[in-house]
């Protein structure tokens, strides 16, 4: 039976920054904020499915912004999440239709967006394309890259779970996979530019 973990704001931010117990932190965010945030989407031309999609985006954005130290703590986590959720949804509405009232709603609401996160949110569409690009990688490549760059496992740890002759062979494979992904991403300069702006990793 799962023990439900509750967090104070500071503790939650620390857990996310340190990238430990992340599953519990994500579950906590769902339990405490999903229903409240989903109401906004459902009351503004969205349905339950939209609300779920937008909340997933919101959580991903929130975690990455915290890990990049771009959440300054000026507002509460709840307010910050609401801002991300709201602007992600308004961007989605803008994407769906650039005309009429929706455009007006977006343009009005955009003024309230924290400038520090607006670029990130605007890159939603580009990040959606990334999912397709990642799928073009072989399963082996995907597994190695995720293990090394997302799960922060060492080469030795990855070697224990995969069928490679030795550390050097695995290292070479990882380099090739990374280069392959880089080429897939940079094959579309517009996408690369948007992603760079969105993820802000080039700083």
């Amino acid at each position: 039976m799962e023990v439900i973990k509750n967090f104070g704001d500071e503790e939650l931010l620390q857990v996310i920054r340190d990238d430990i117990n992340m599953d519990a932190a994500i579950r906590y965010l769902y339990r405490n904020y999903f229903e409240g945030l989903s109401i906004y989407v459902q009351q503004n031309q969205g349905n339950r499915e939209d609300a779920e999609d937008i909340f997933q985006e919101t959580i991903v954005a929130f975690i990455q912004l915290v890990q990049q130290n771009r959440f300054r703590g000026d507002a509460s986590i709840k307010t910050f999440l609401f801002a991300i959720n709201k602007n992600t949804w308004l961007n989605e509405l803008k994407r769906r239709s650039r005309a009429g009232v929706r455009e007006a709603i977006f343009e009005t609401a955009k003024e309230t967006v924290d400038e520090g996160i607006s670029g990130y949110i605007a890159g939603r569409e580009a990040r959606t394309q990334v999912l397709g690009i990642m799928d073009k990688l072989g399963e082996g490549c995907k597994k190695i890259l995720l293990a090394f760059y997302y799960e922060n496992l060492s080469m030795k740890e990855i070697l224990n779970t995969m069928n490679y002759e030795n550390d050097q062979v695995l290292r070479n494979k990882k380099h090739k996979c990374l280069k392959q992904l880089e080429q897939l991403l940079t094959a579309d300069p517009a996408l690369a530019k948007t992603l760079k702006a969105a993820l802000q990793y080039g700083q």
């Binding site: 779920e52 280069k179 940079t186």
Partner: protein
């Protein structure tokens, strides 16, 4: 080509923080003077960011499904089959009847049933009386104590006088004497094959027993009155009243 591969290798090792401090410093100097190399590093940094973003998205997506199950309150439409609905209605009725029965069980008491039924016996309704004597006069004036006193002084009281005395005893709640006189009147009627005030005596004797909470004696009398359509008080004893008497008898 080899030089390119070598540069890429160094850039990836730099990205993975595997170069020594000296190697890193040398690379940074080189990057400042080599735009193509800096561009490649930027792309690799972006690629690393994309992988991290993808990993996190996958993690959130995996947790999302489980959380939706946990958070969703199933709003299933209530579809009930007819038999189930009938059973529910029947259960509701049984519950109501049960509650009503329970209420009656606790509410029923000798006092309640007595008050429901009792009304003053009116002298004017006396049948077969031609001359108003002193007992009857006192009774008409609601002087129960005087009725009792006069009755005790009578050497040979009539059936009417005995009946009024019994009524007076009942009114002052001297139930033993009231019962004794009503019973005596009934026995005399039986012995003499007469029926003077017989129905009245039966009815008020039953009420006397009831007031005394002797339901086992009151119940057969009330039942007799209820069953006898020719009885003078037949209409006053309904089946519902009889049922409440039975409930009281059972409760006792």
């Amino acid at each position: 080509m080899d030089n390119n591969n070598s540069n890429t290798e160094r850039l990836i090792r730099y990205l993975d923080a595997e170069l020594s401090e000296a190697e890193s410093e040398a690379l940074r100097t080189e990057l400042a003077n080599n735009t193509a190399m800096q561009q490649e590093l930027d792309n690799l940094v972006l690629t690393k960011g994309v992988i991290k973003n993808y990993g996190l998205t996958q993690k959130v997506s995996g947790i999302h499904q489980a959380m939706m199950q946990e958070l969703k309150v199933p709003a299933k439409p209530v579809v009930r089959s007819l038999p189930k609905m009938m059973m529910r209605i029947a259960a509701g009725i049984i519950l109501l009847v049960g509650l009503f029965g329970l209420y009656q069980y606790f509410a029923v008491s000798p006092g309640n049933l007595y008050n429901d039924q009792y009304s003053d016996y009116q002298v004017a309704t006396m049948r077969g009386t031609t001359n108003a004597g002193d007992i009857e006069k006192a009774y008409s004036e609601k002087k129960d104590d005087e009725v009792i006193l006069l009755y005790r002084q009578k050497q040979n009281p009539s059936a009417n006088e005995q009946f009024l005395a019994a009524q007076a005893y009942l009114n002052v709640s001297d139930l033993n004497n009231a019962i004794m006189l009503f019973n005596s009147l009934l026995e005399k009627n039986k012995a003499n094959n007469t029926d003077t005030l017989n129905d009245d005596a039966e009815y008020y004797l039953a009420l006397s027993y009831l007031k005394k909470n002797e339901t086992t004696k009151a119940l057969p009398l009330f039942k007799k009155i209820h069953d006898d359509k020719n009885h003078l008080y037949h209409d006053k004893i309904s089946s519902w009243y009889l049922a409440k008497l039975k409930l009281l008898n059972w409760k006792n």
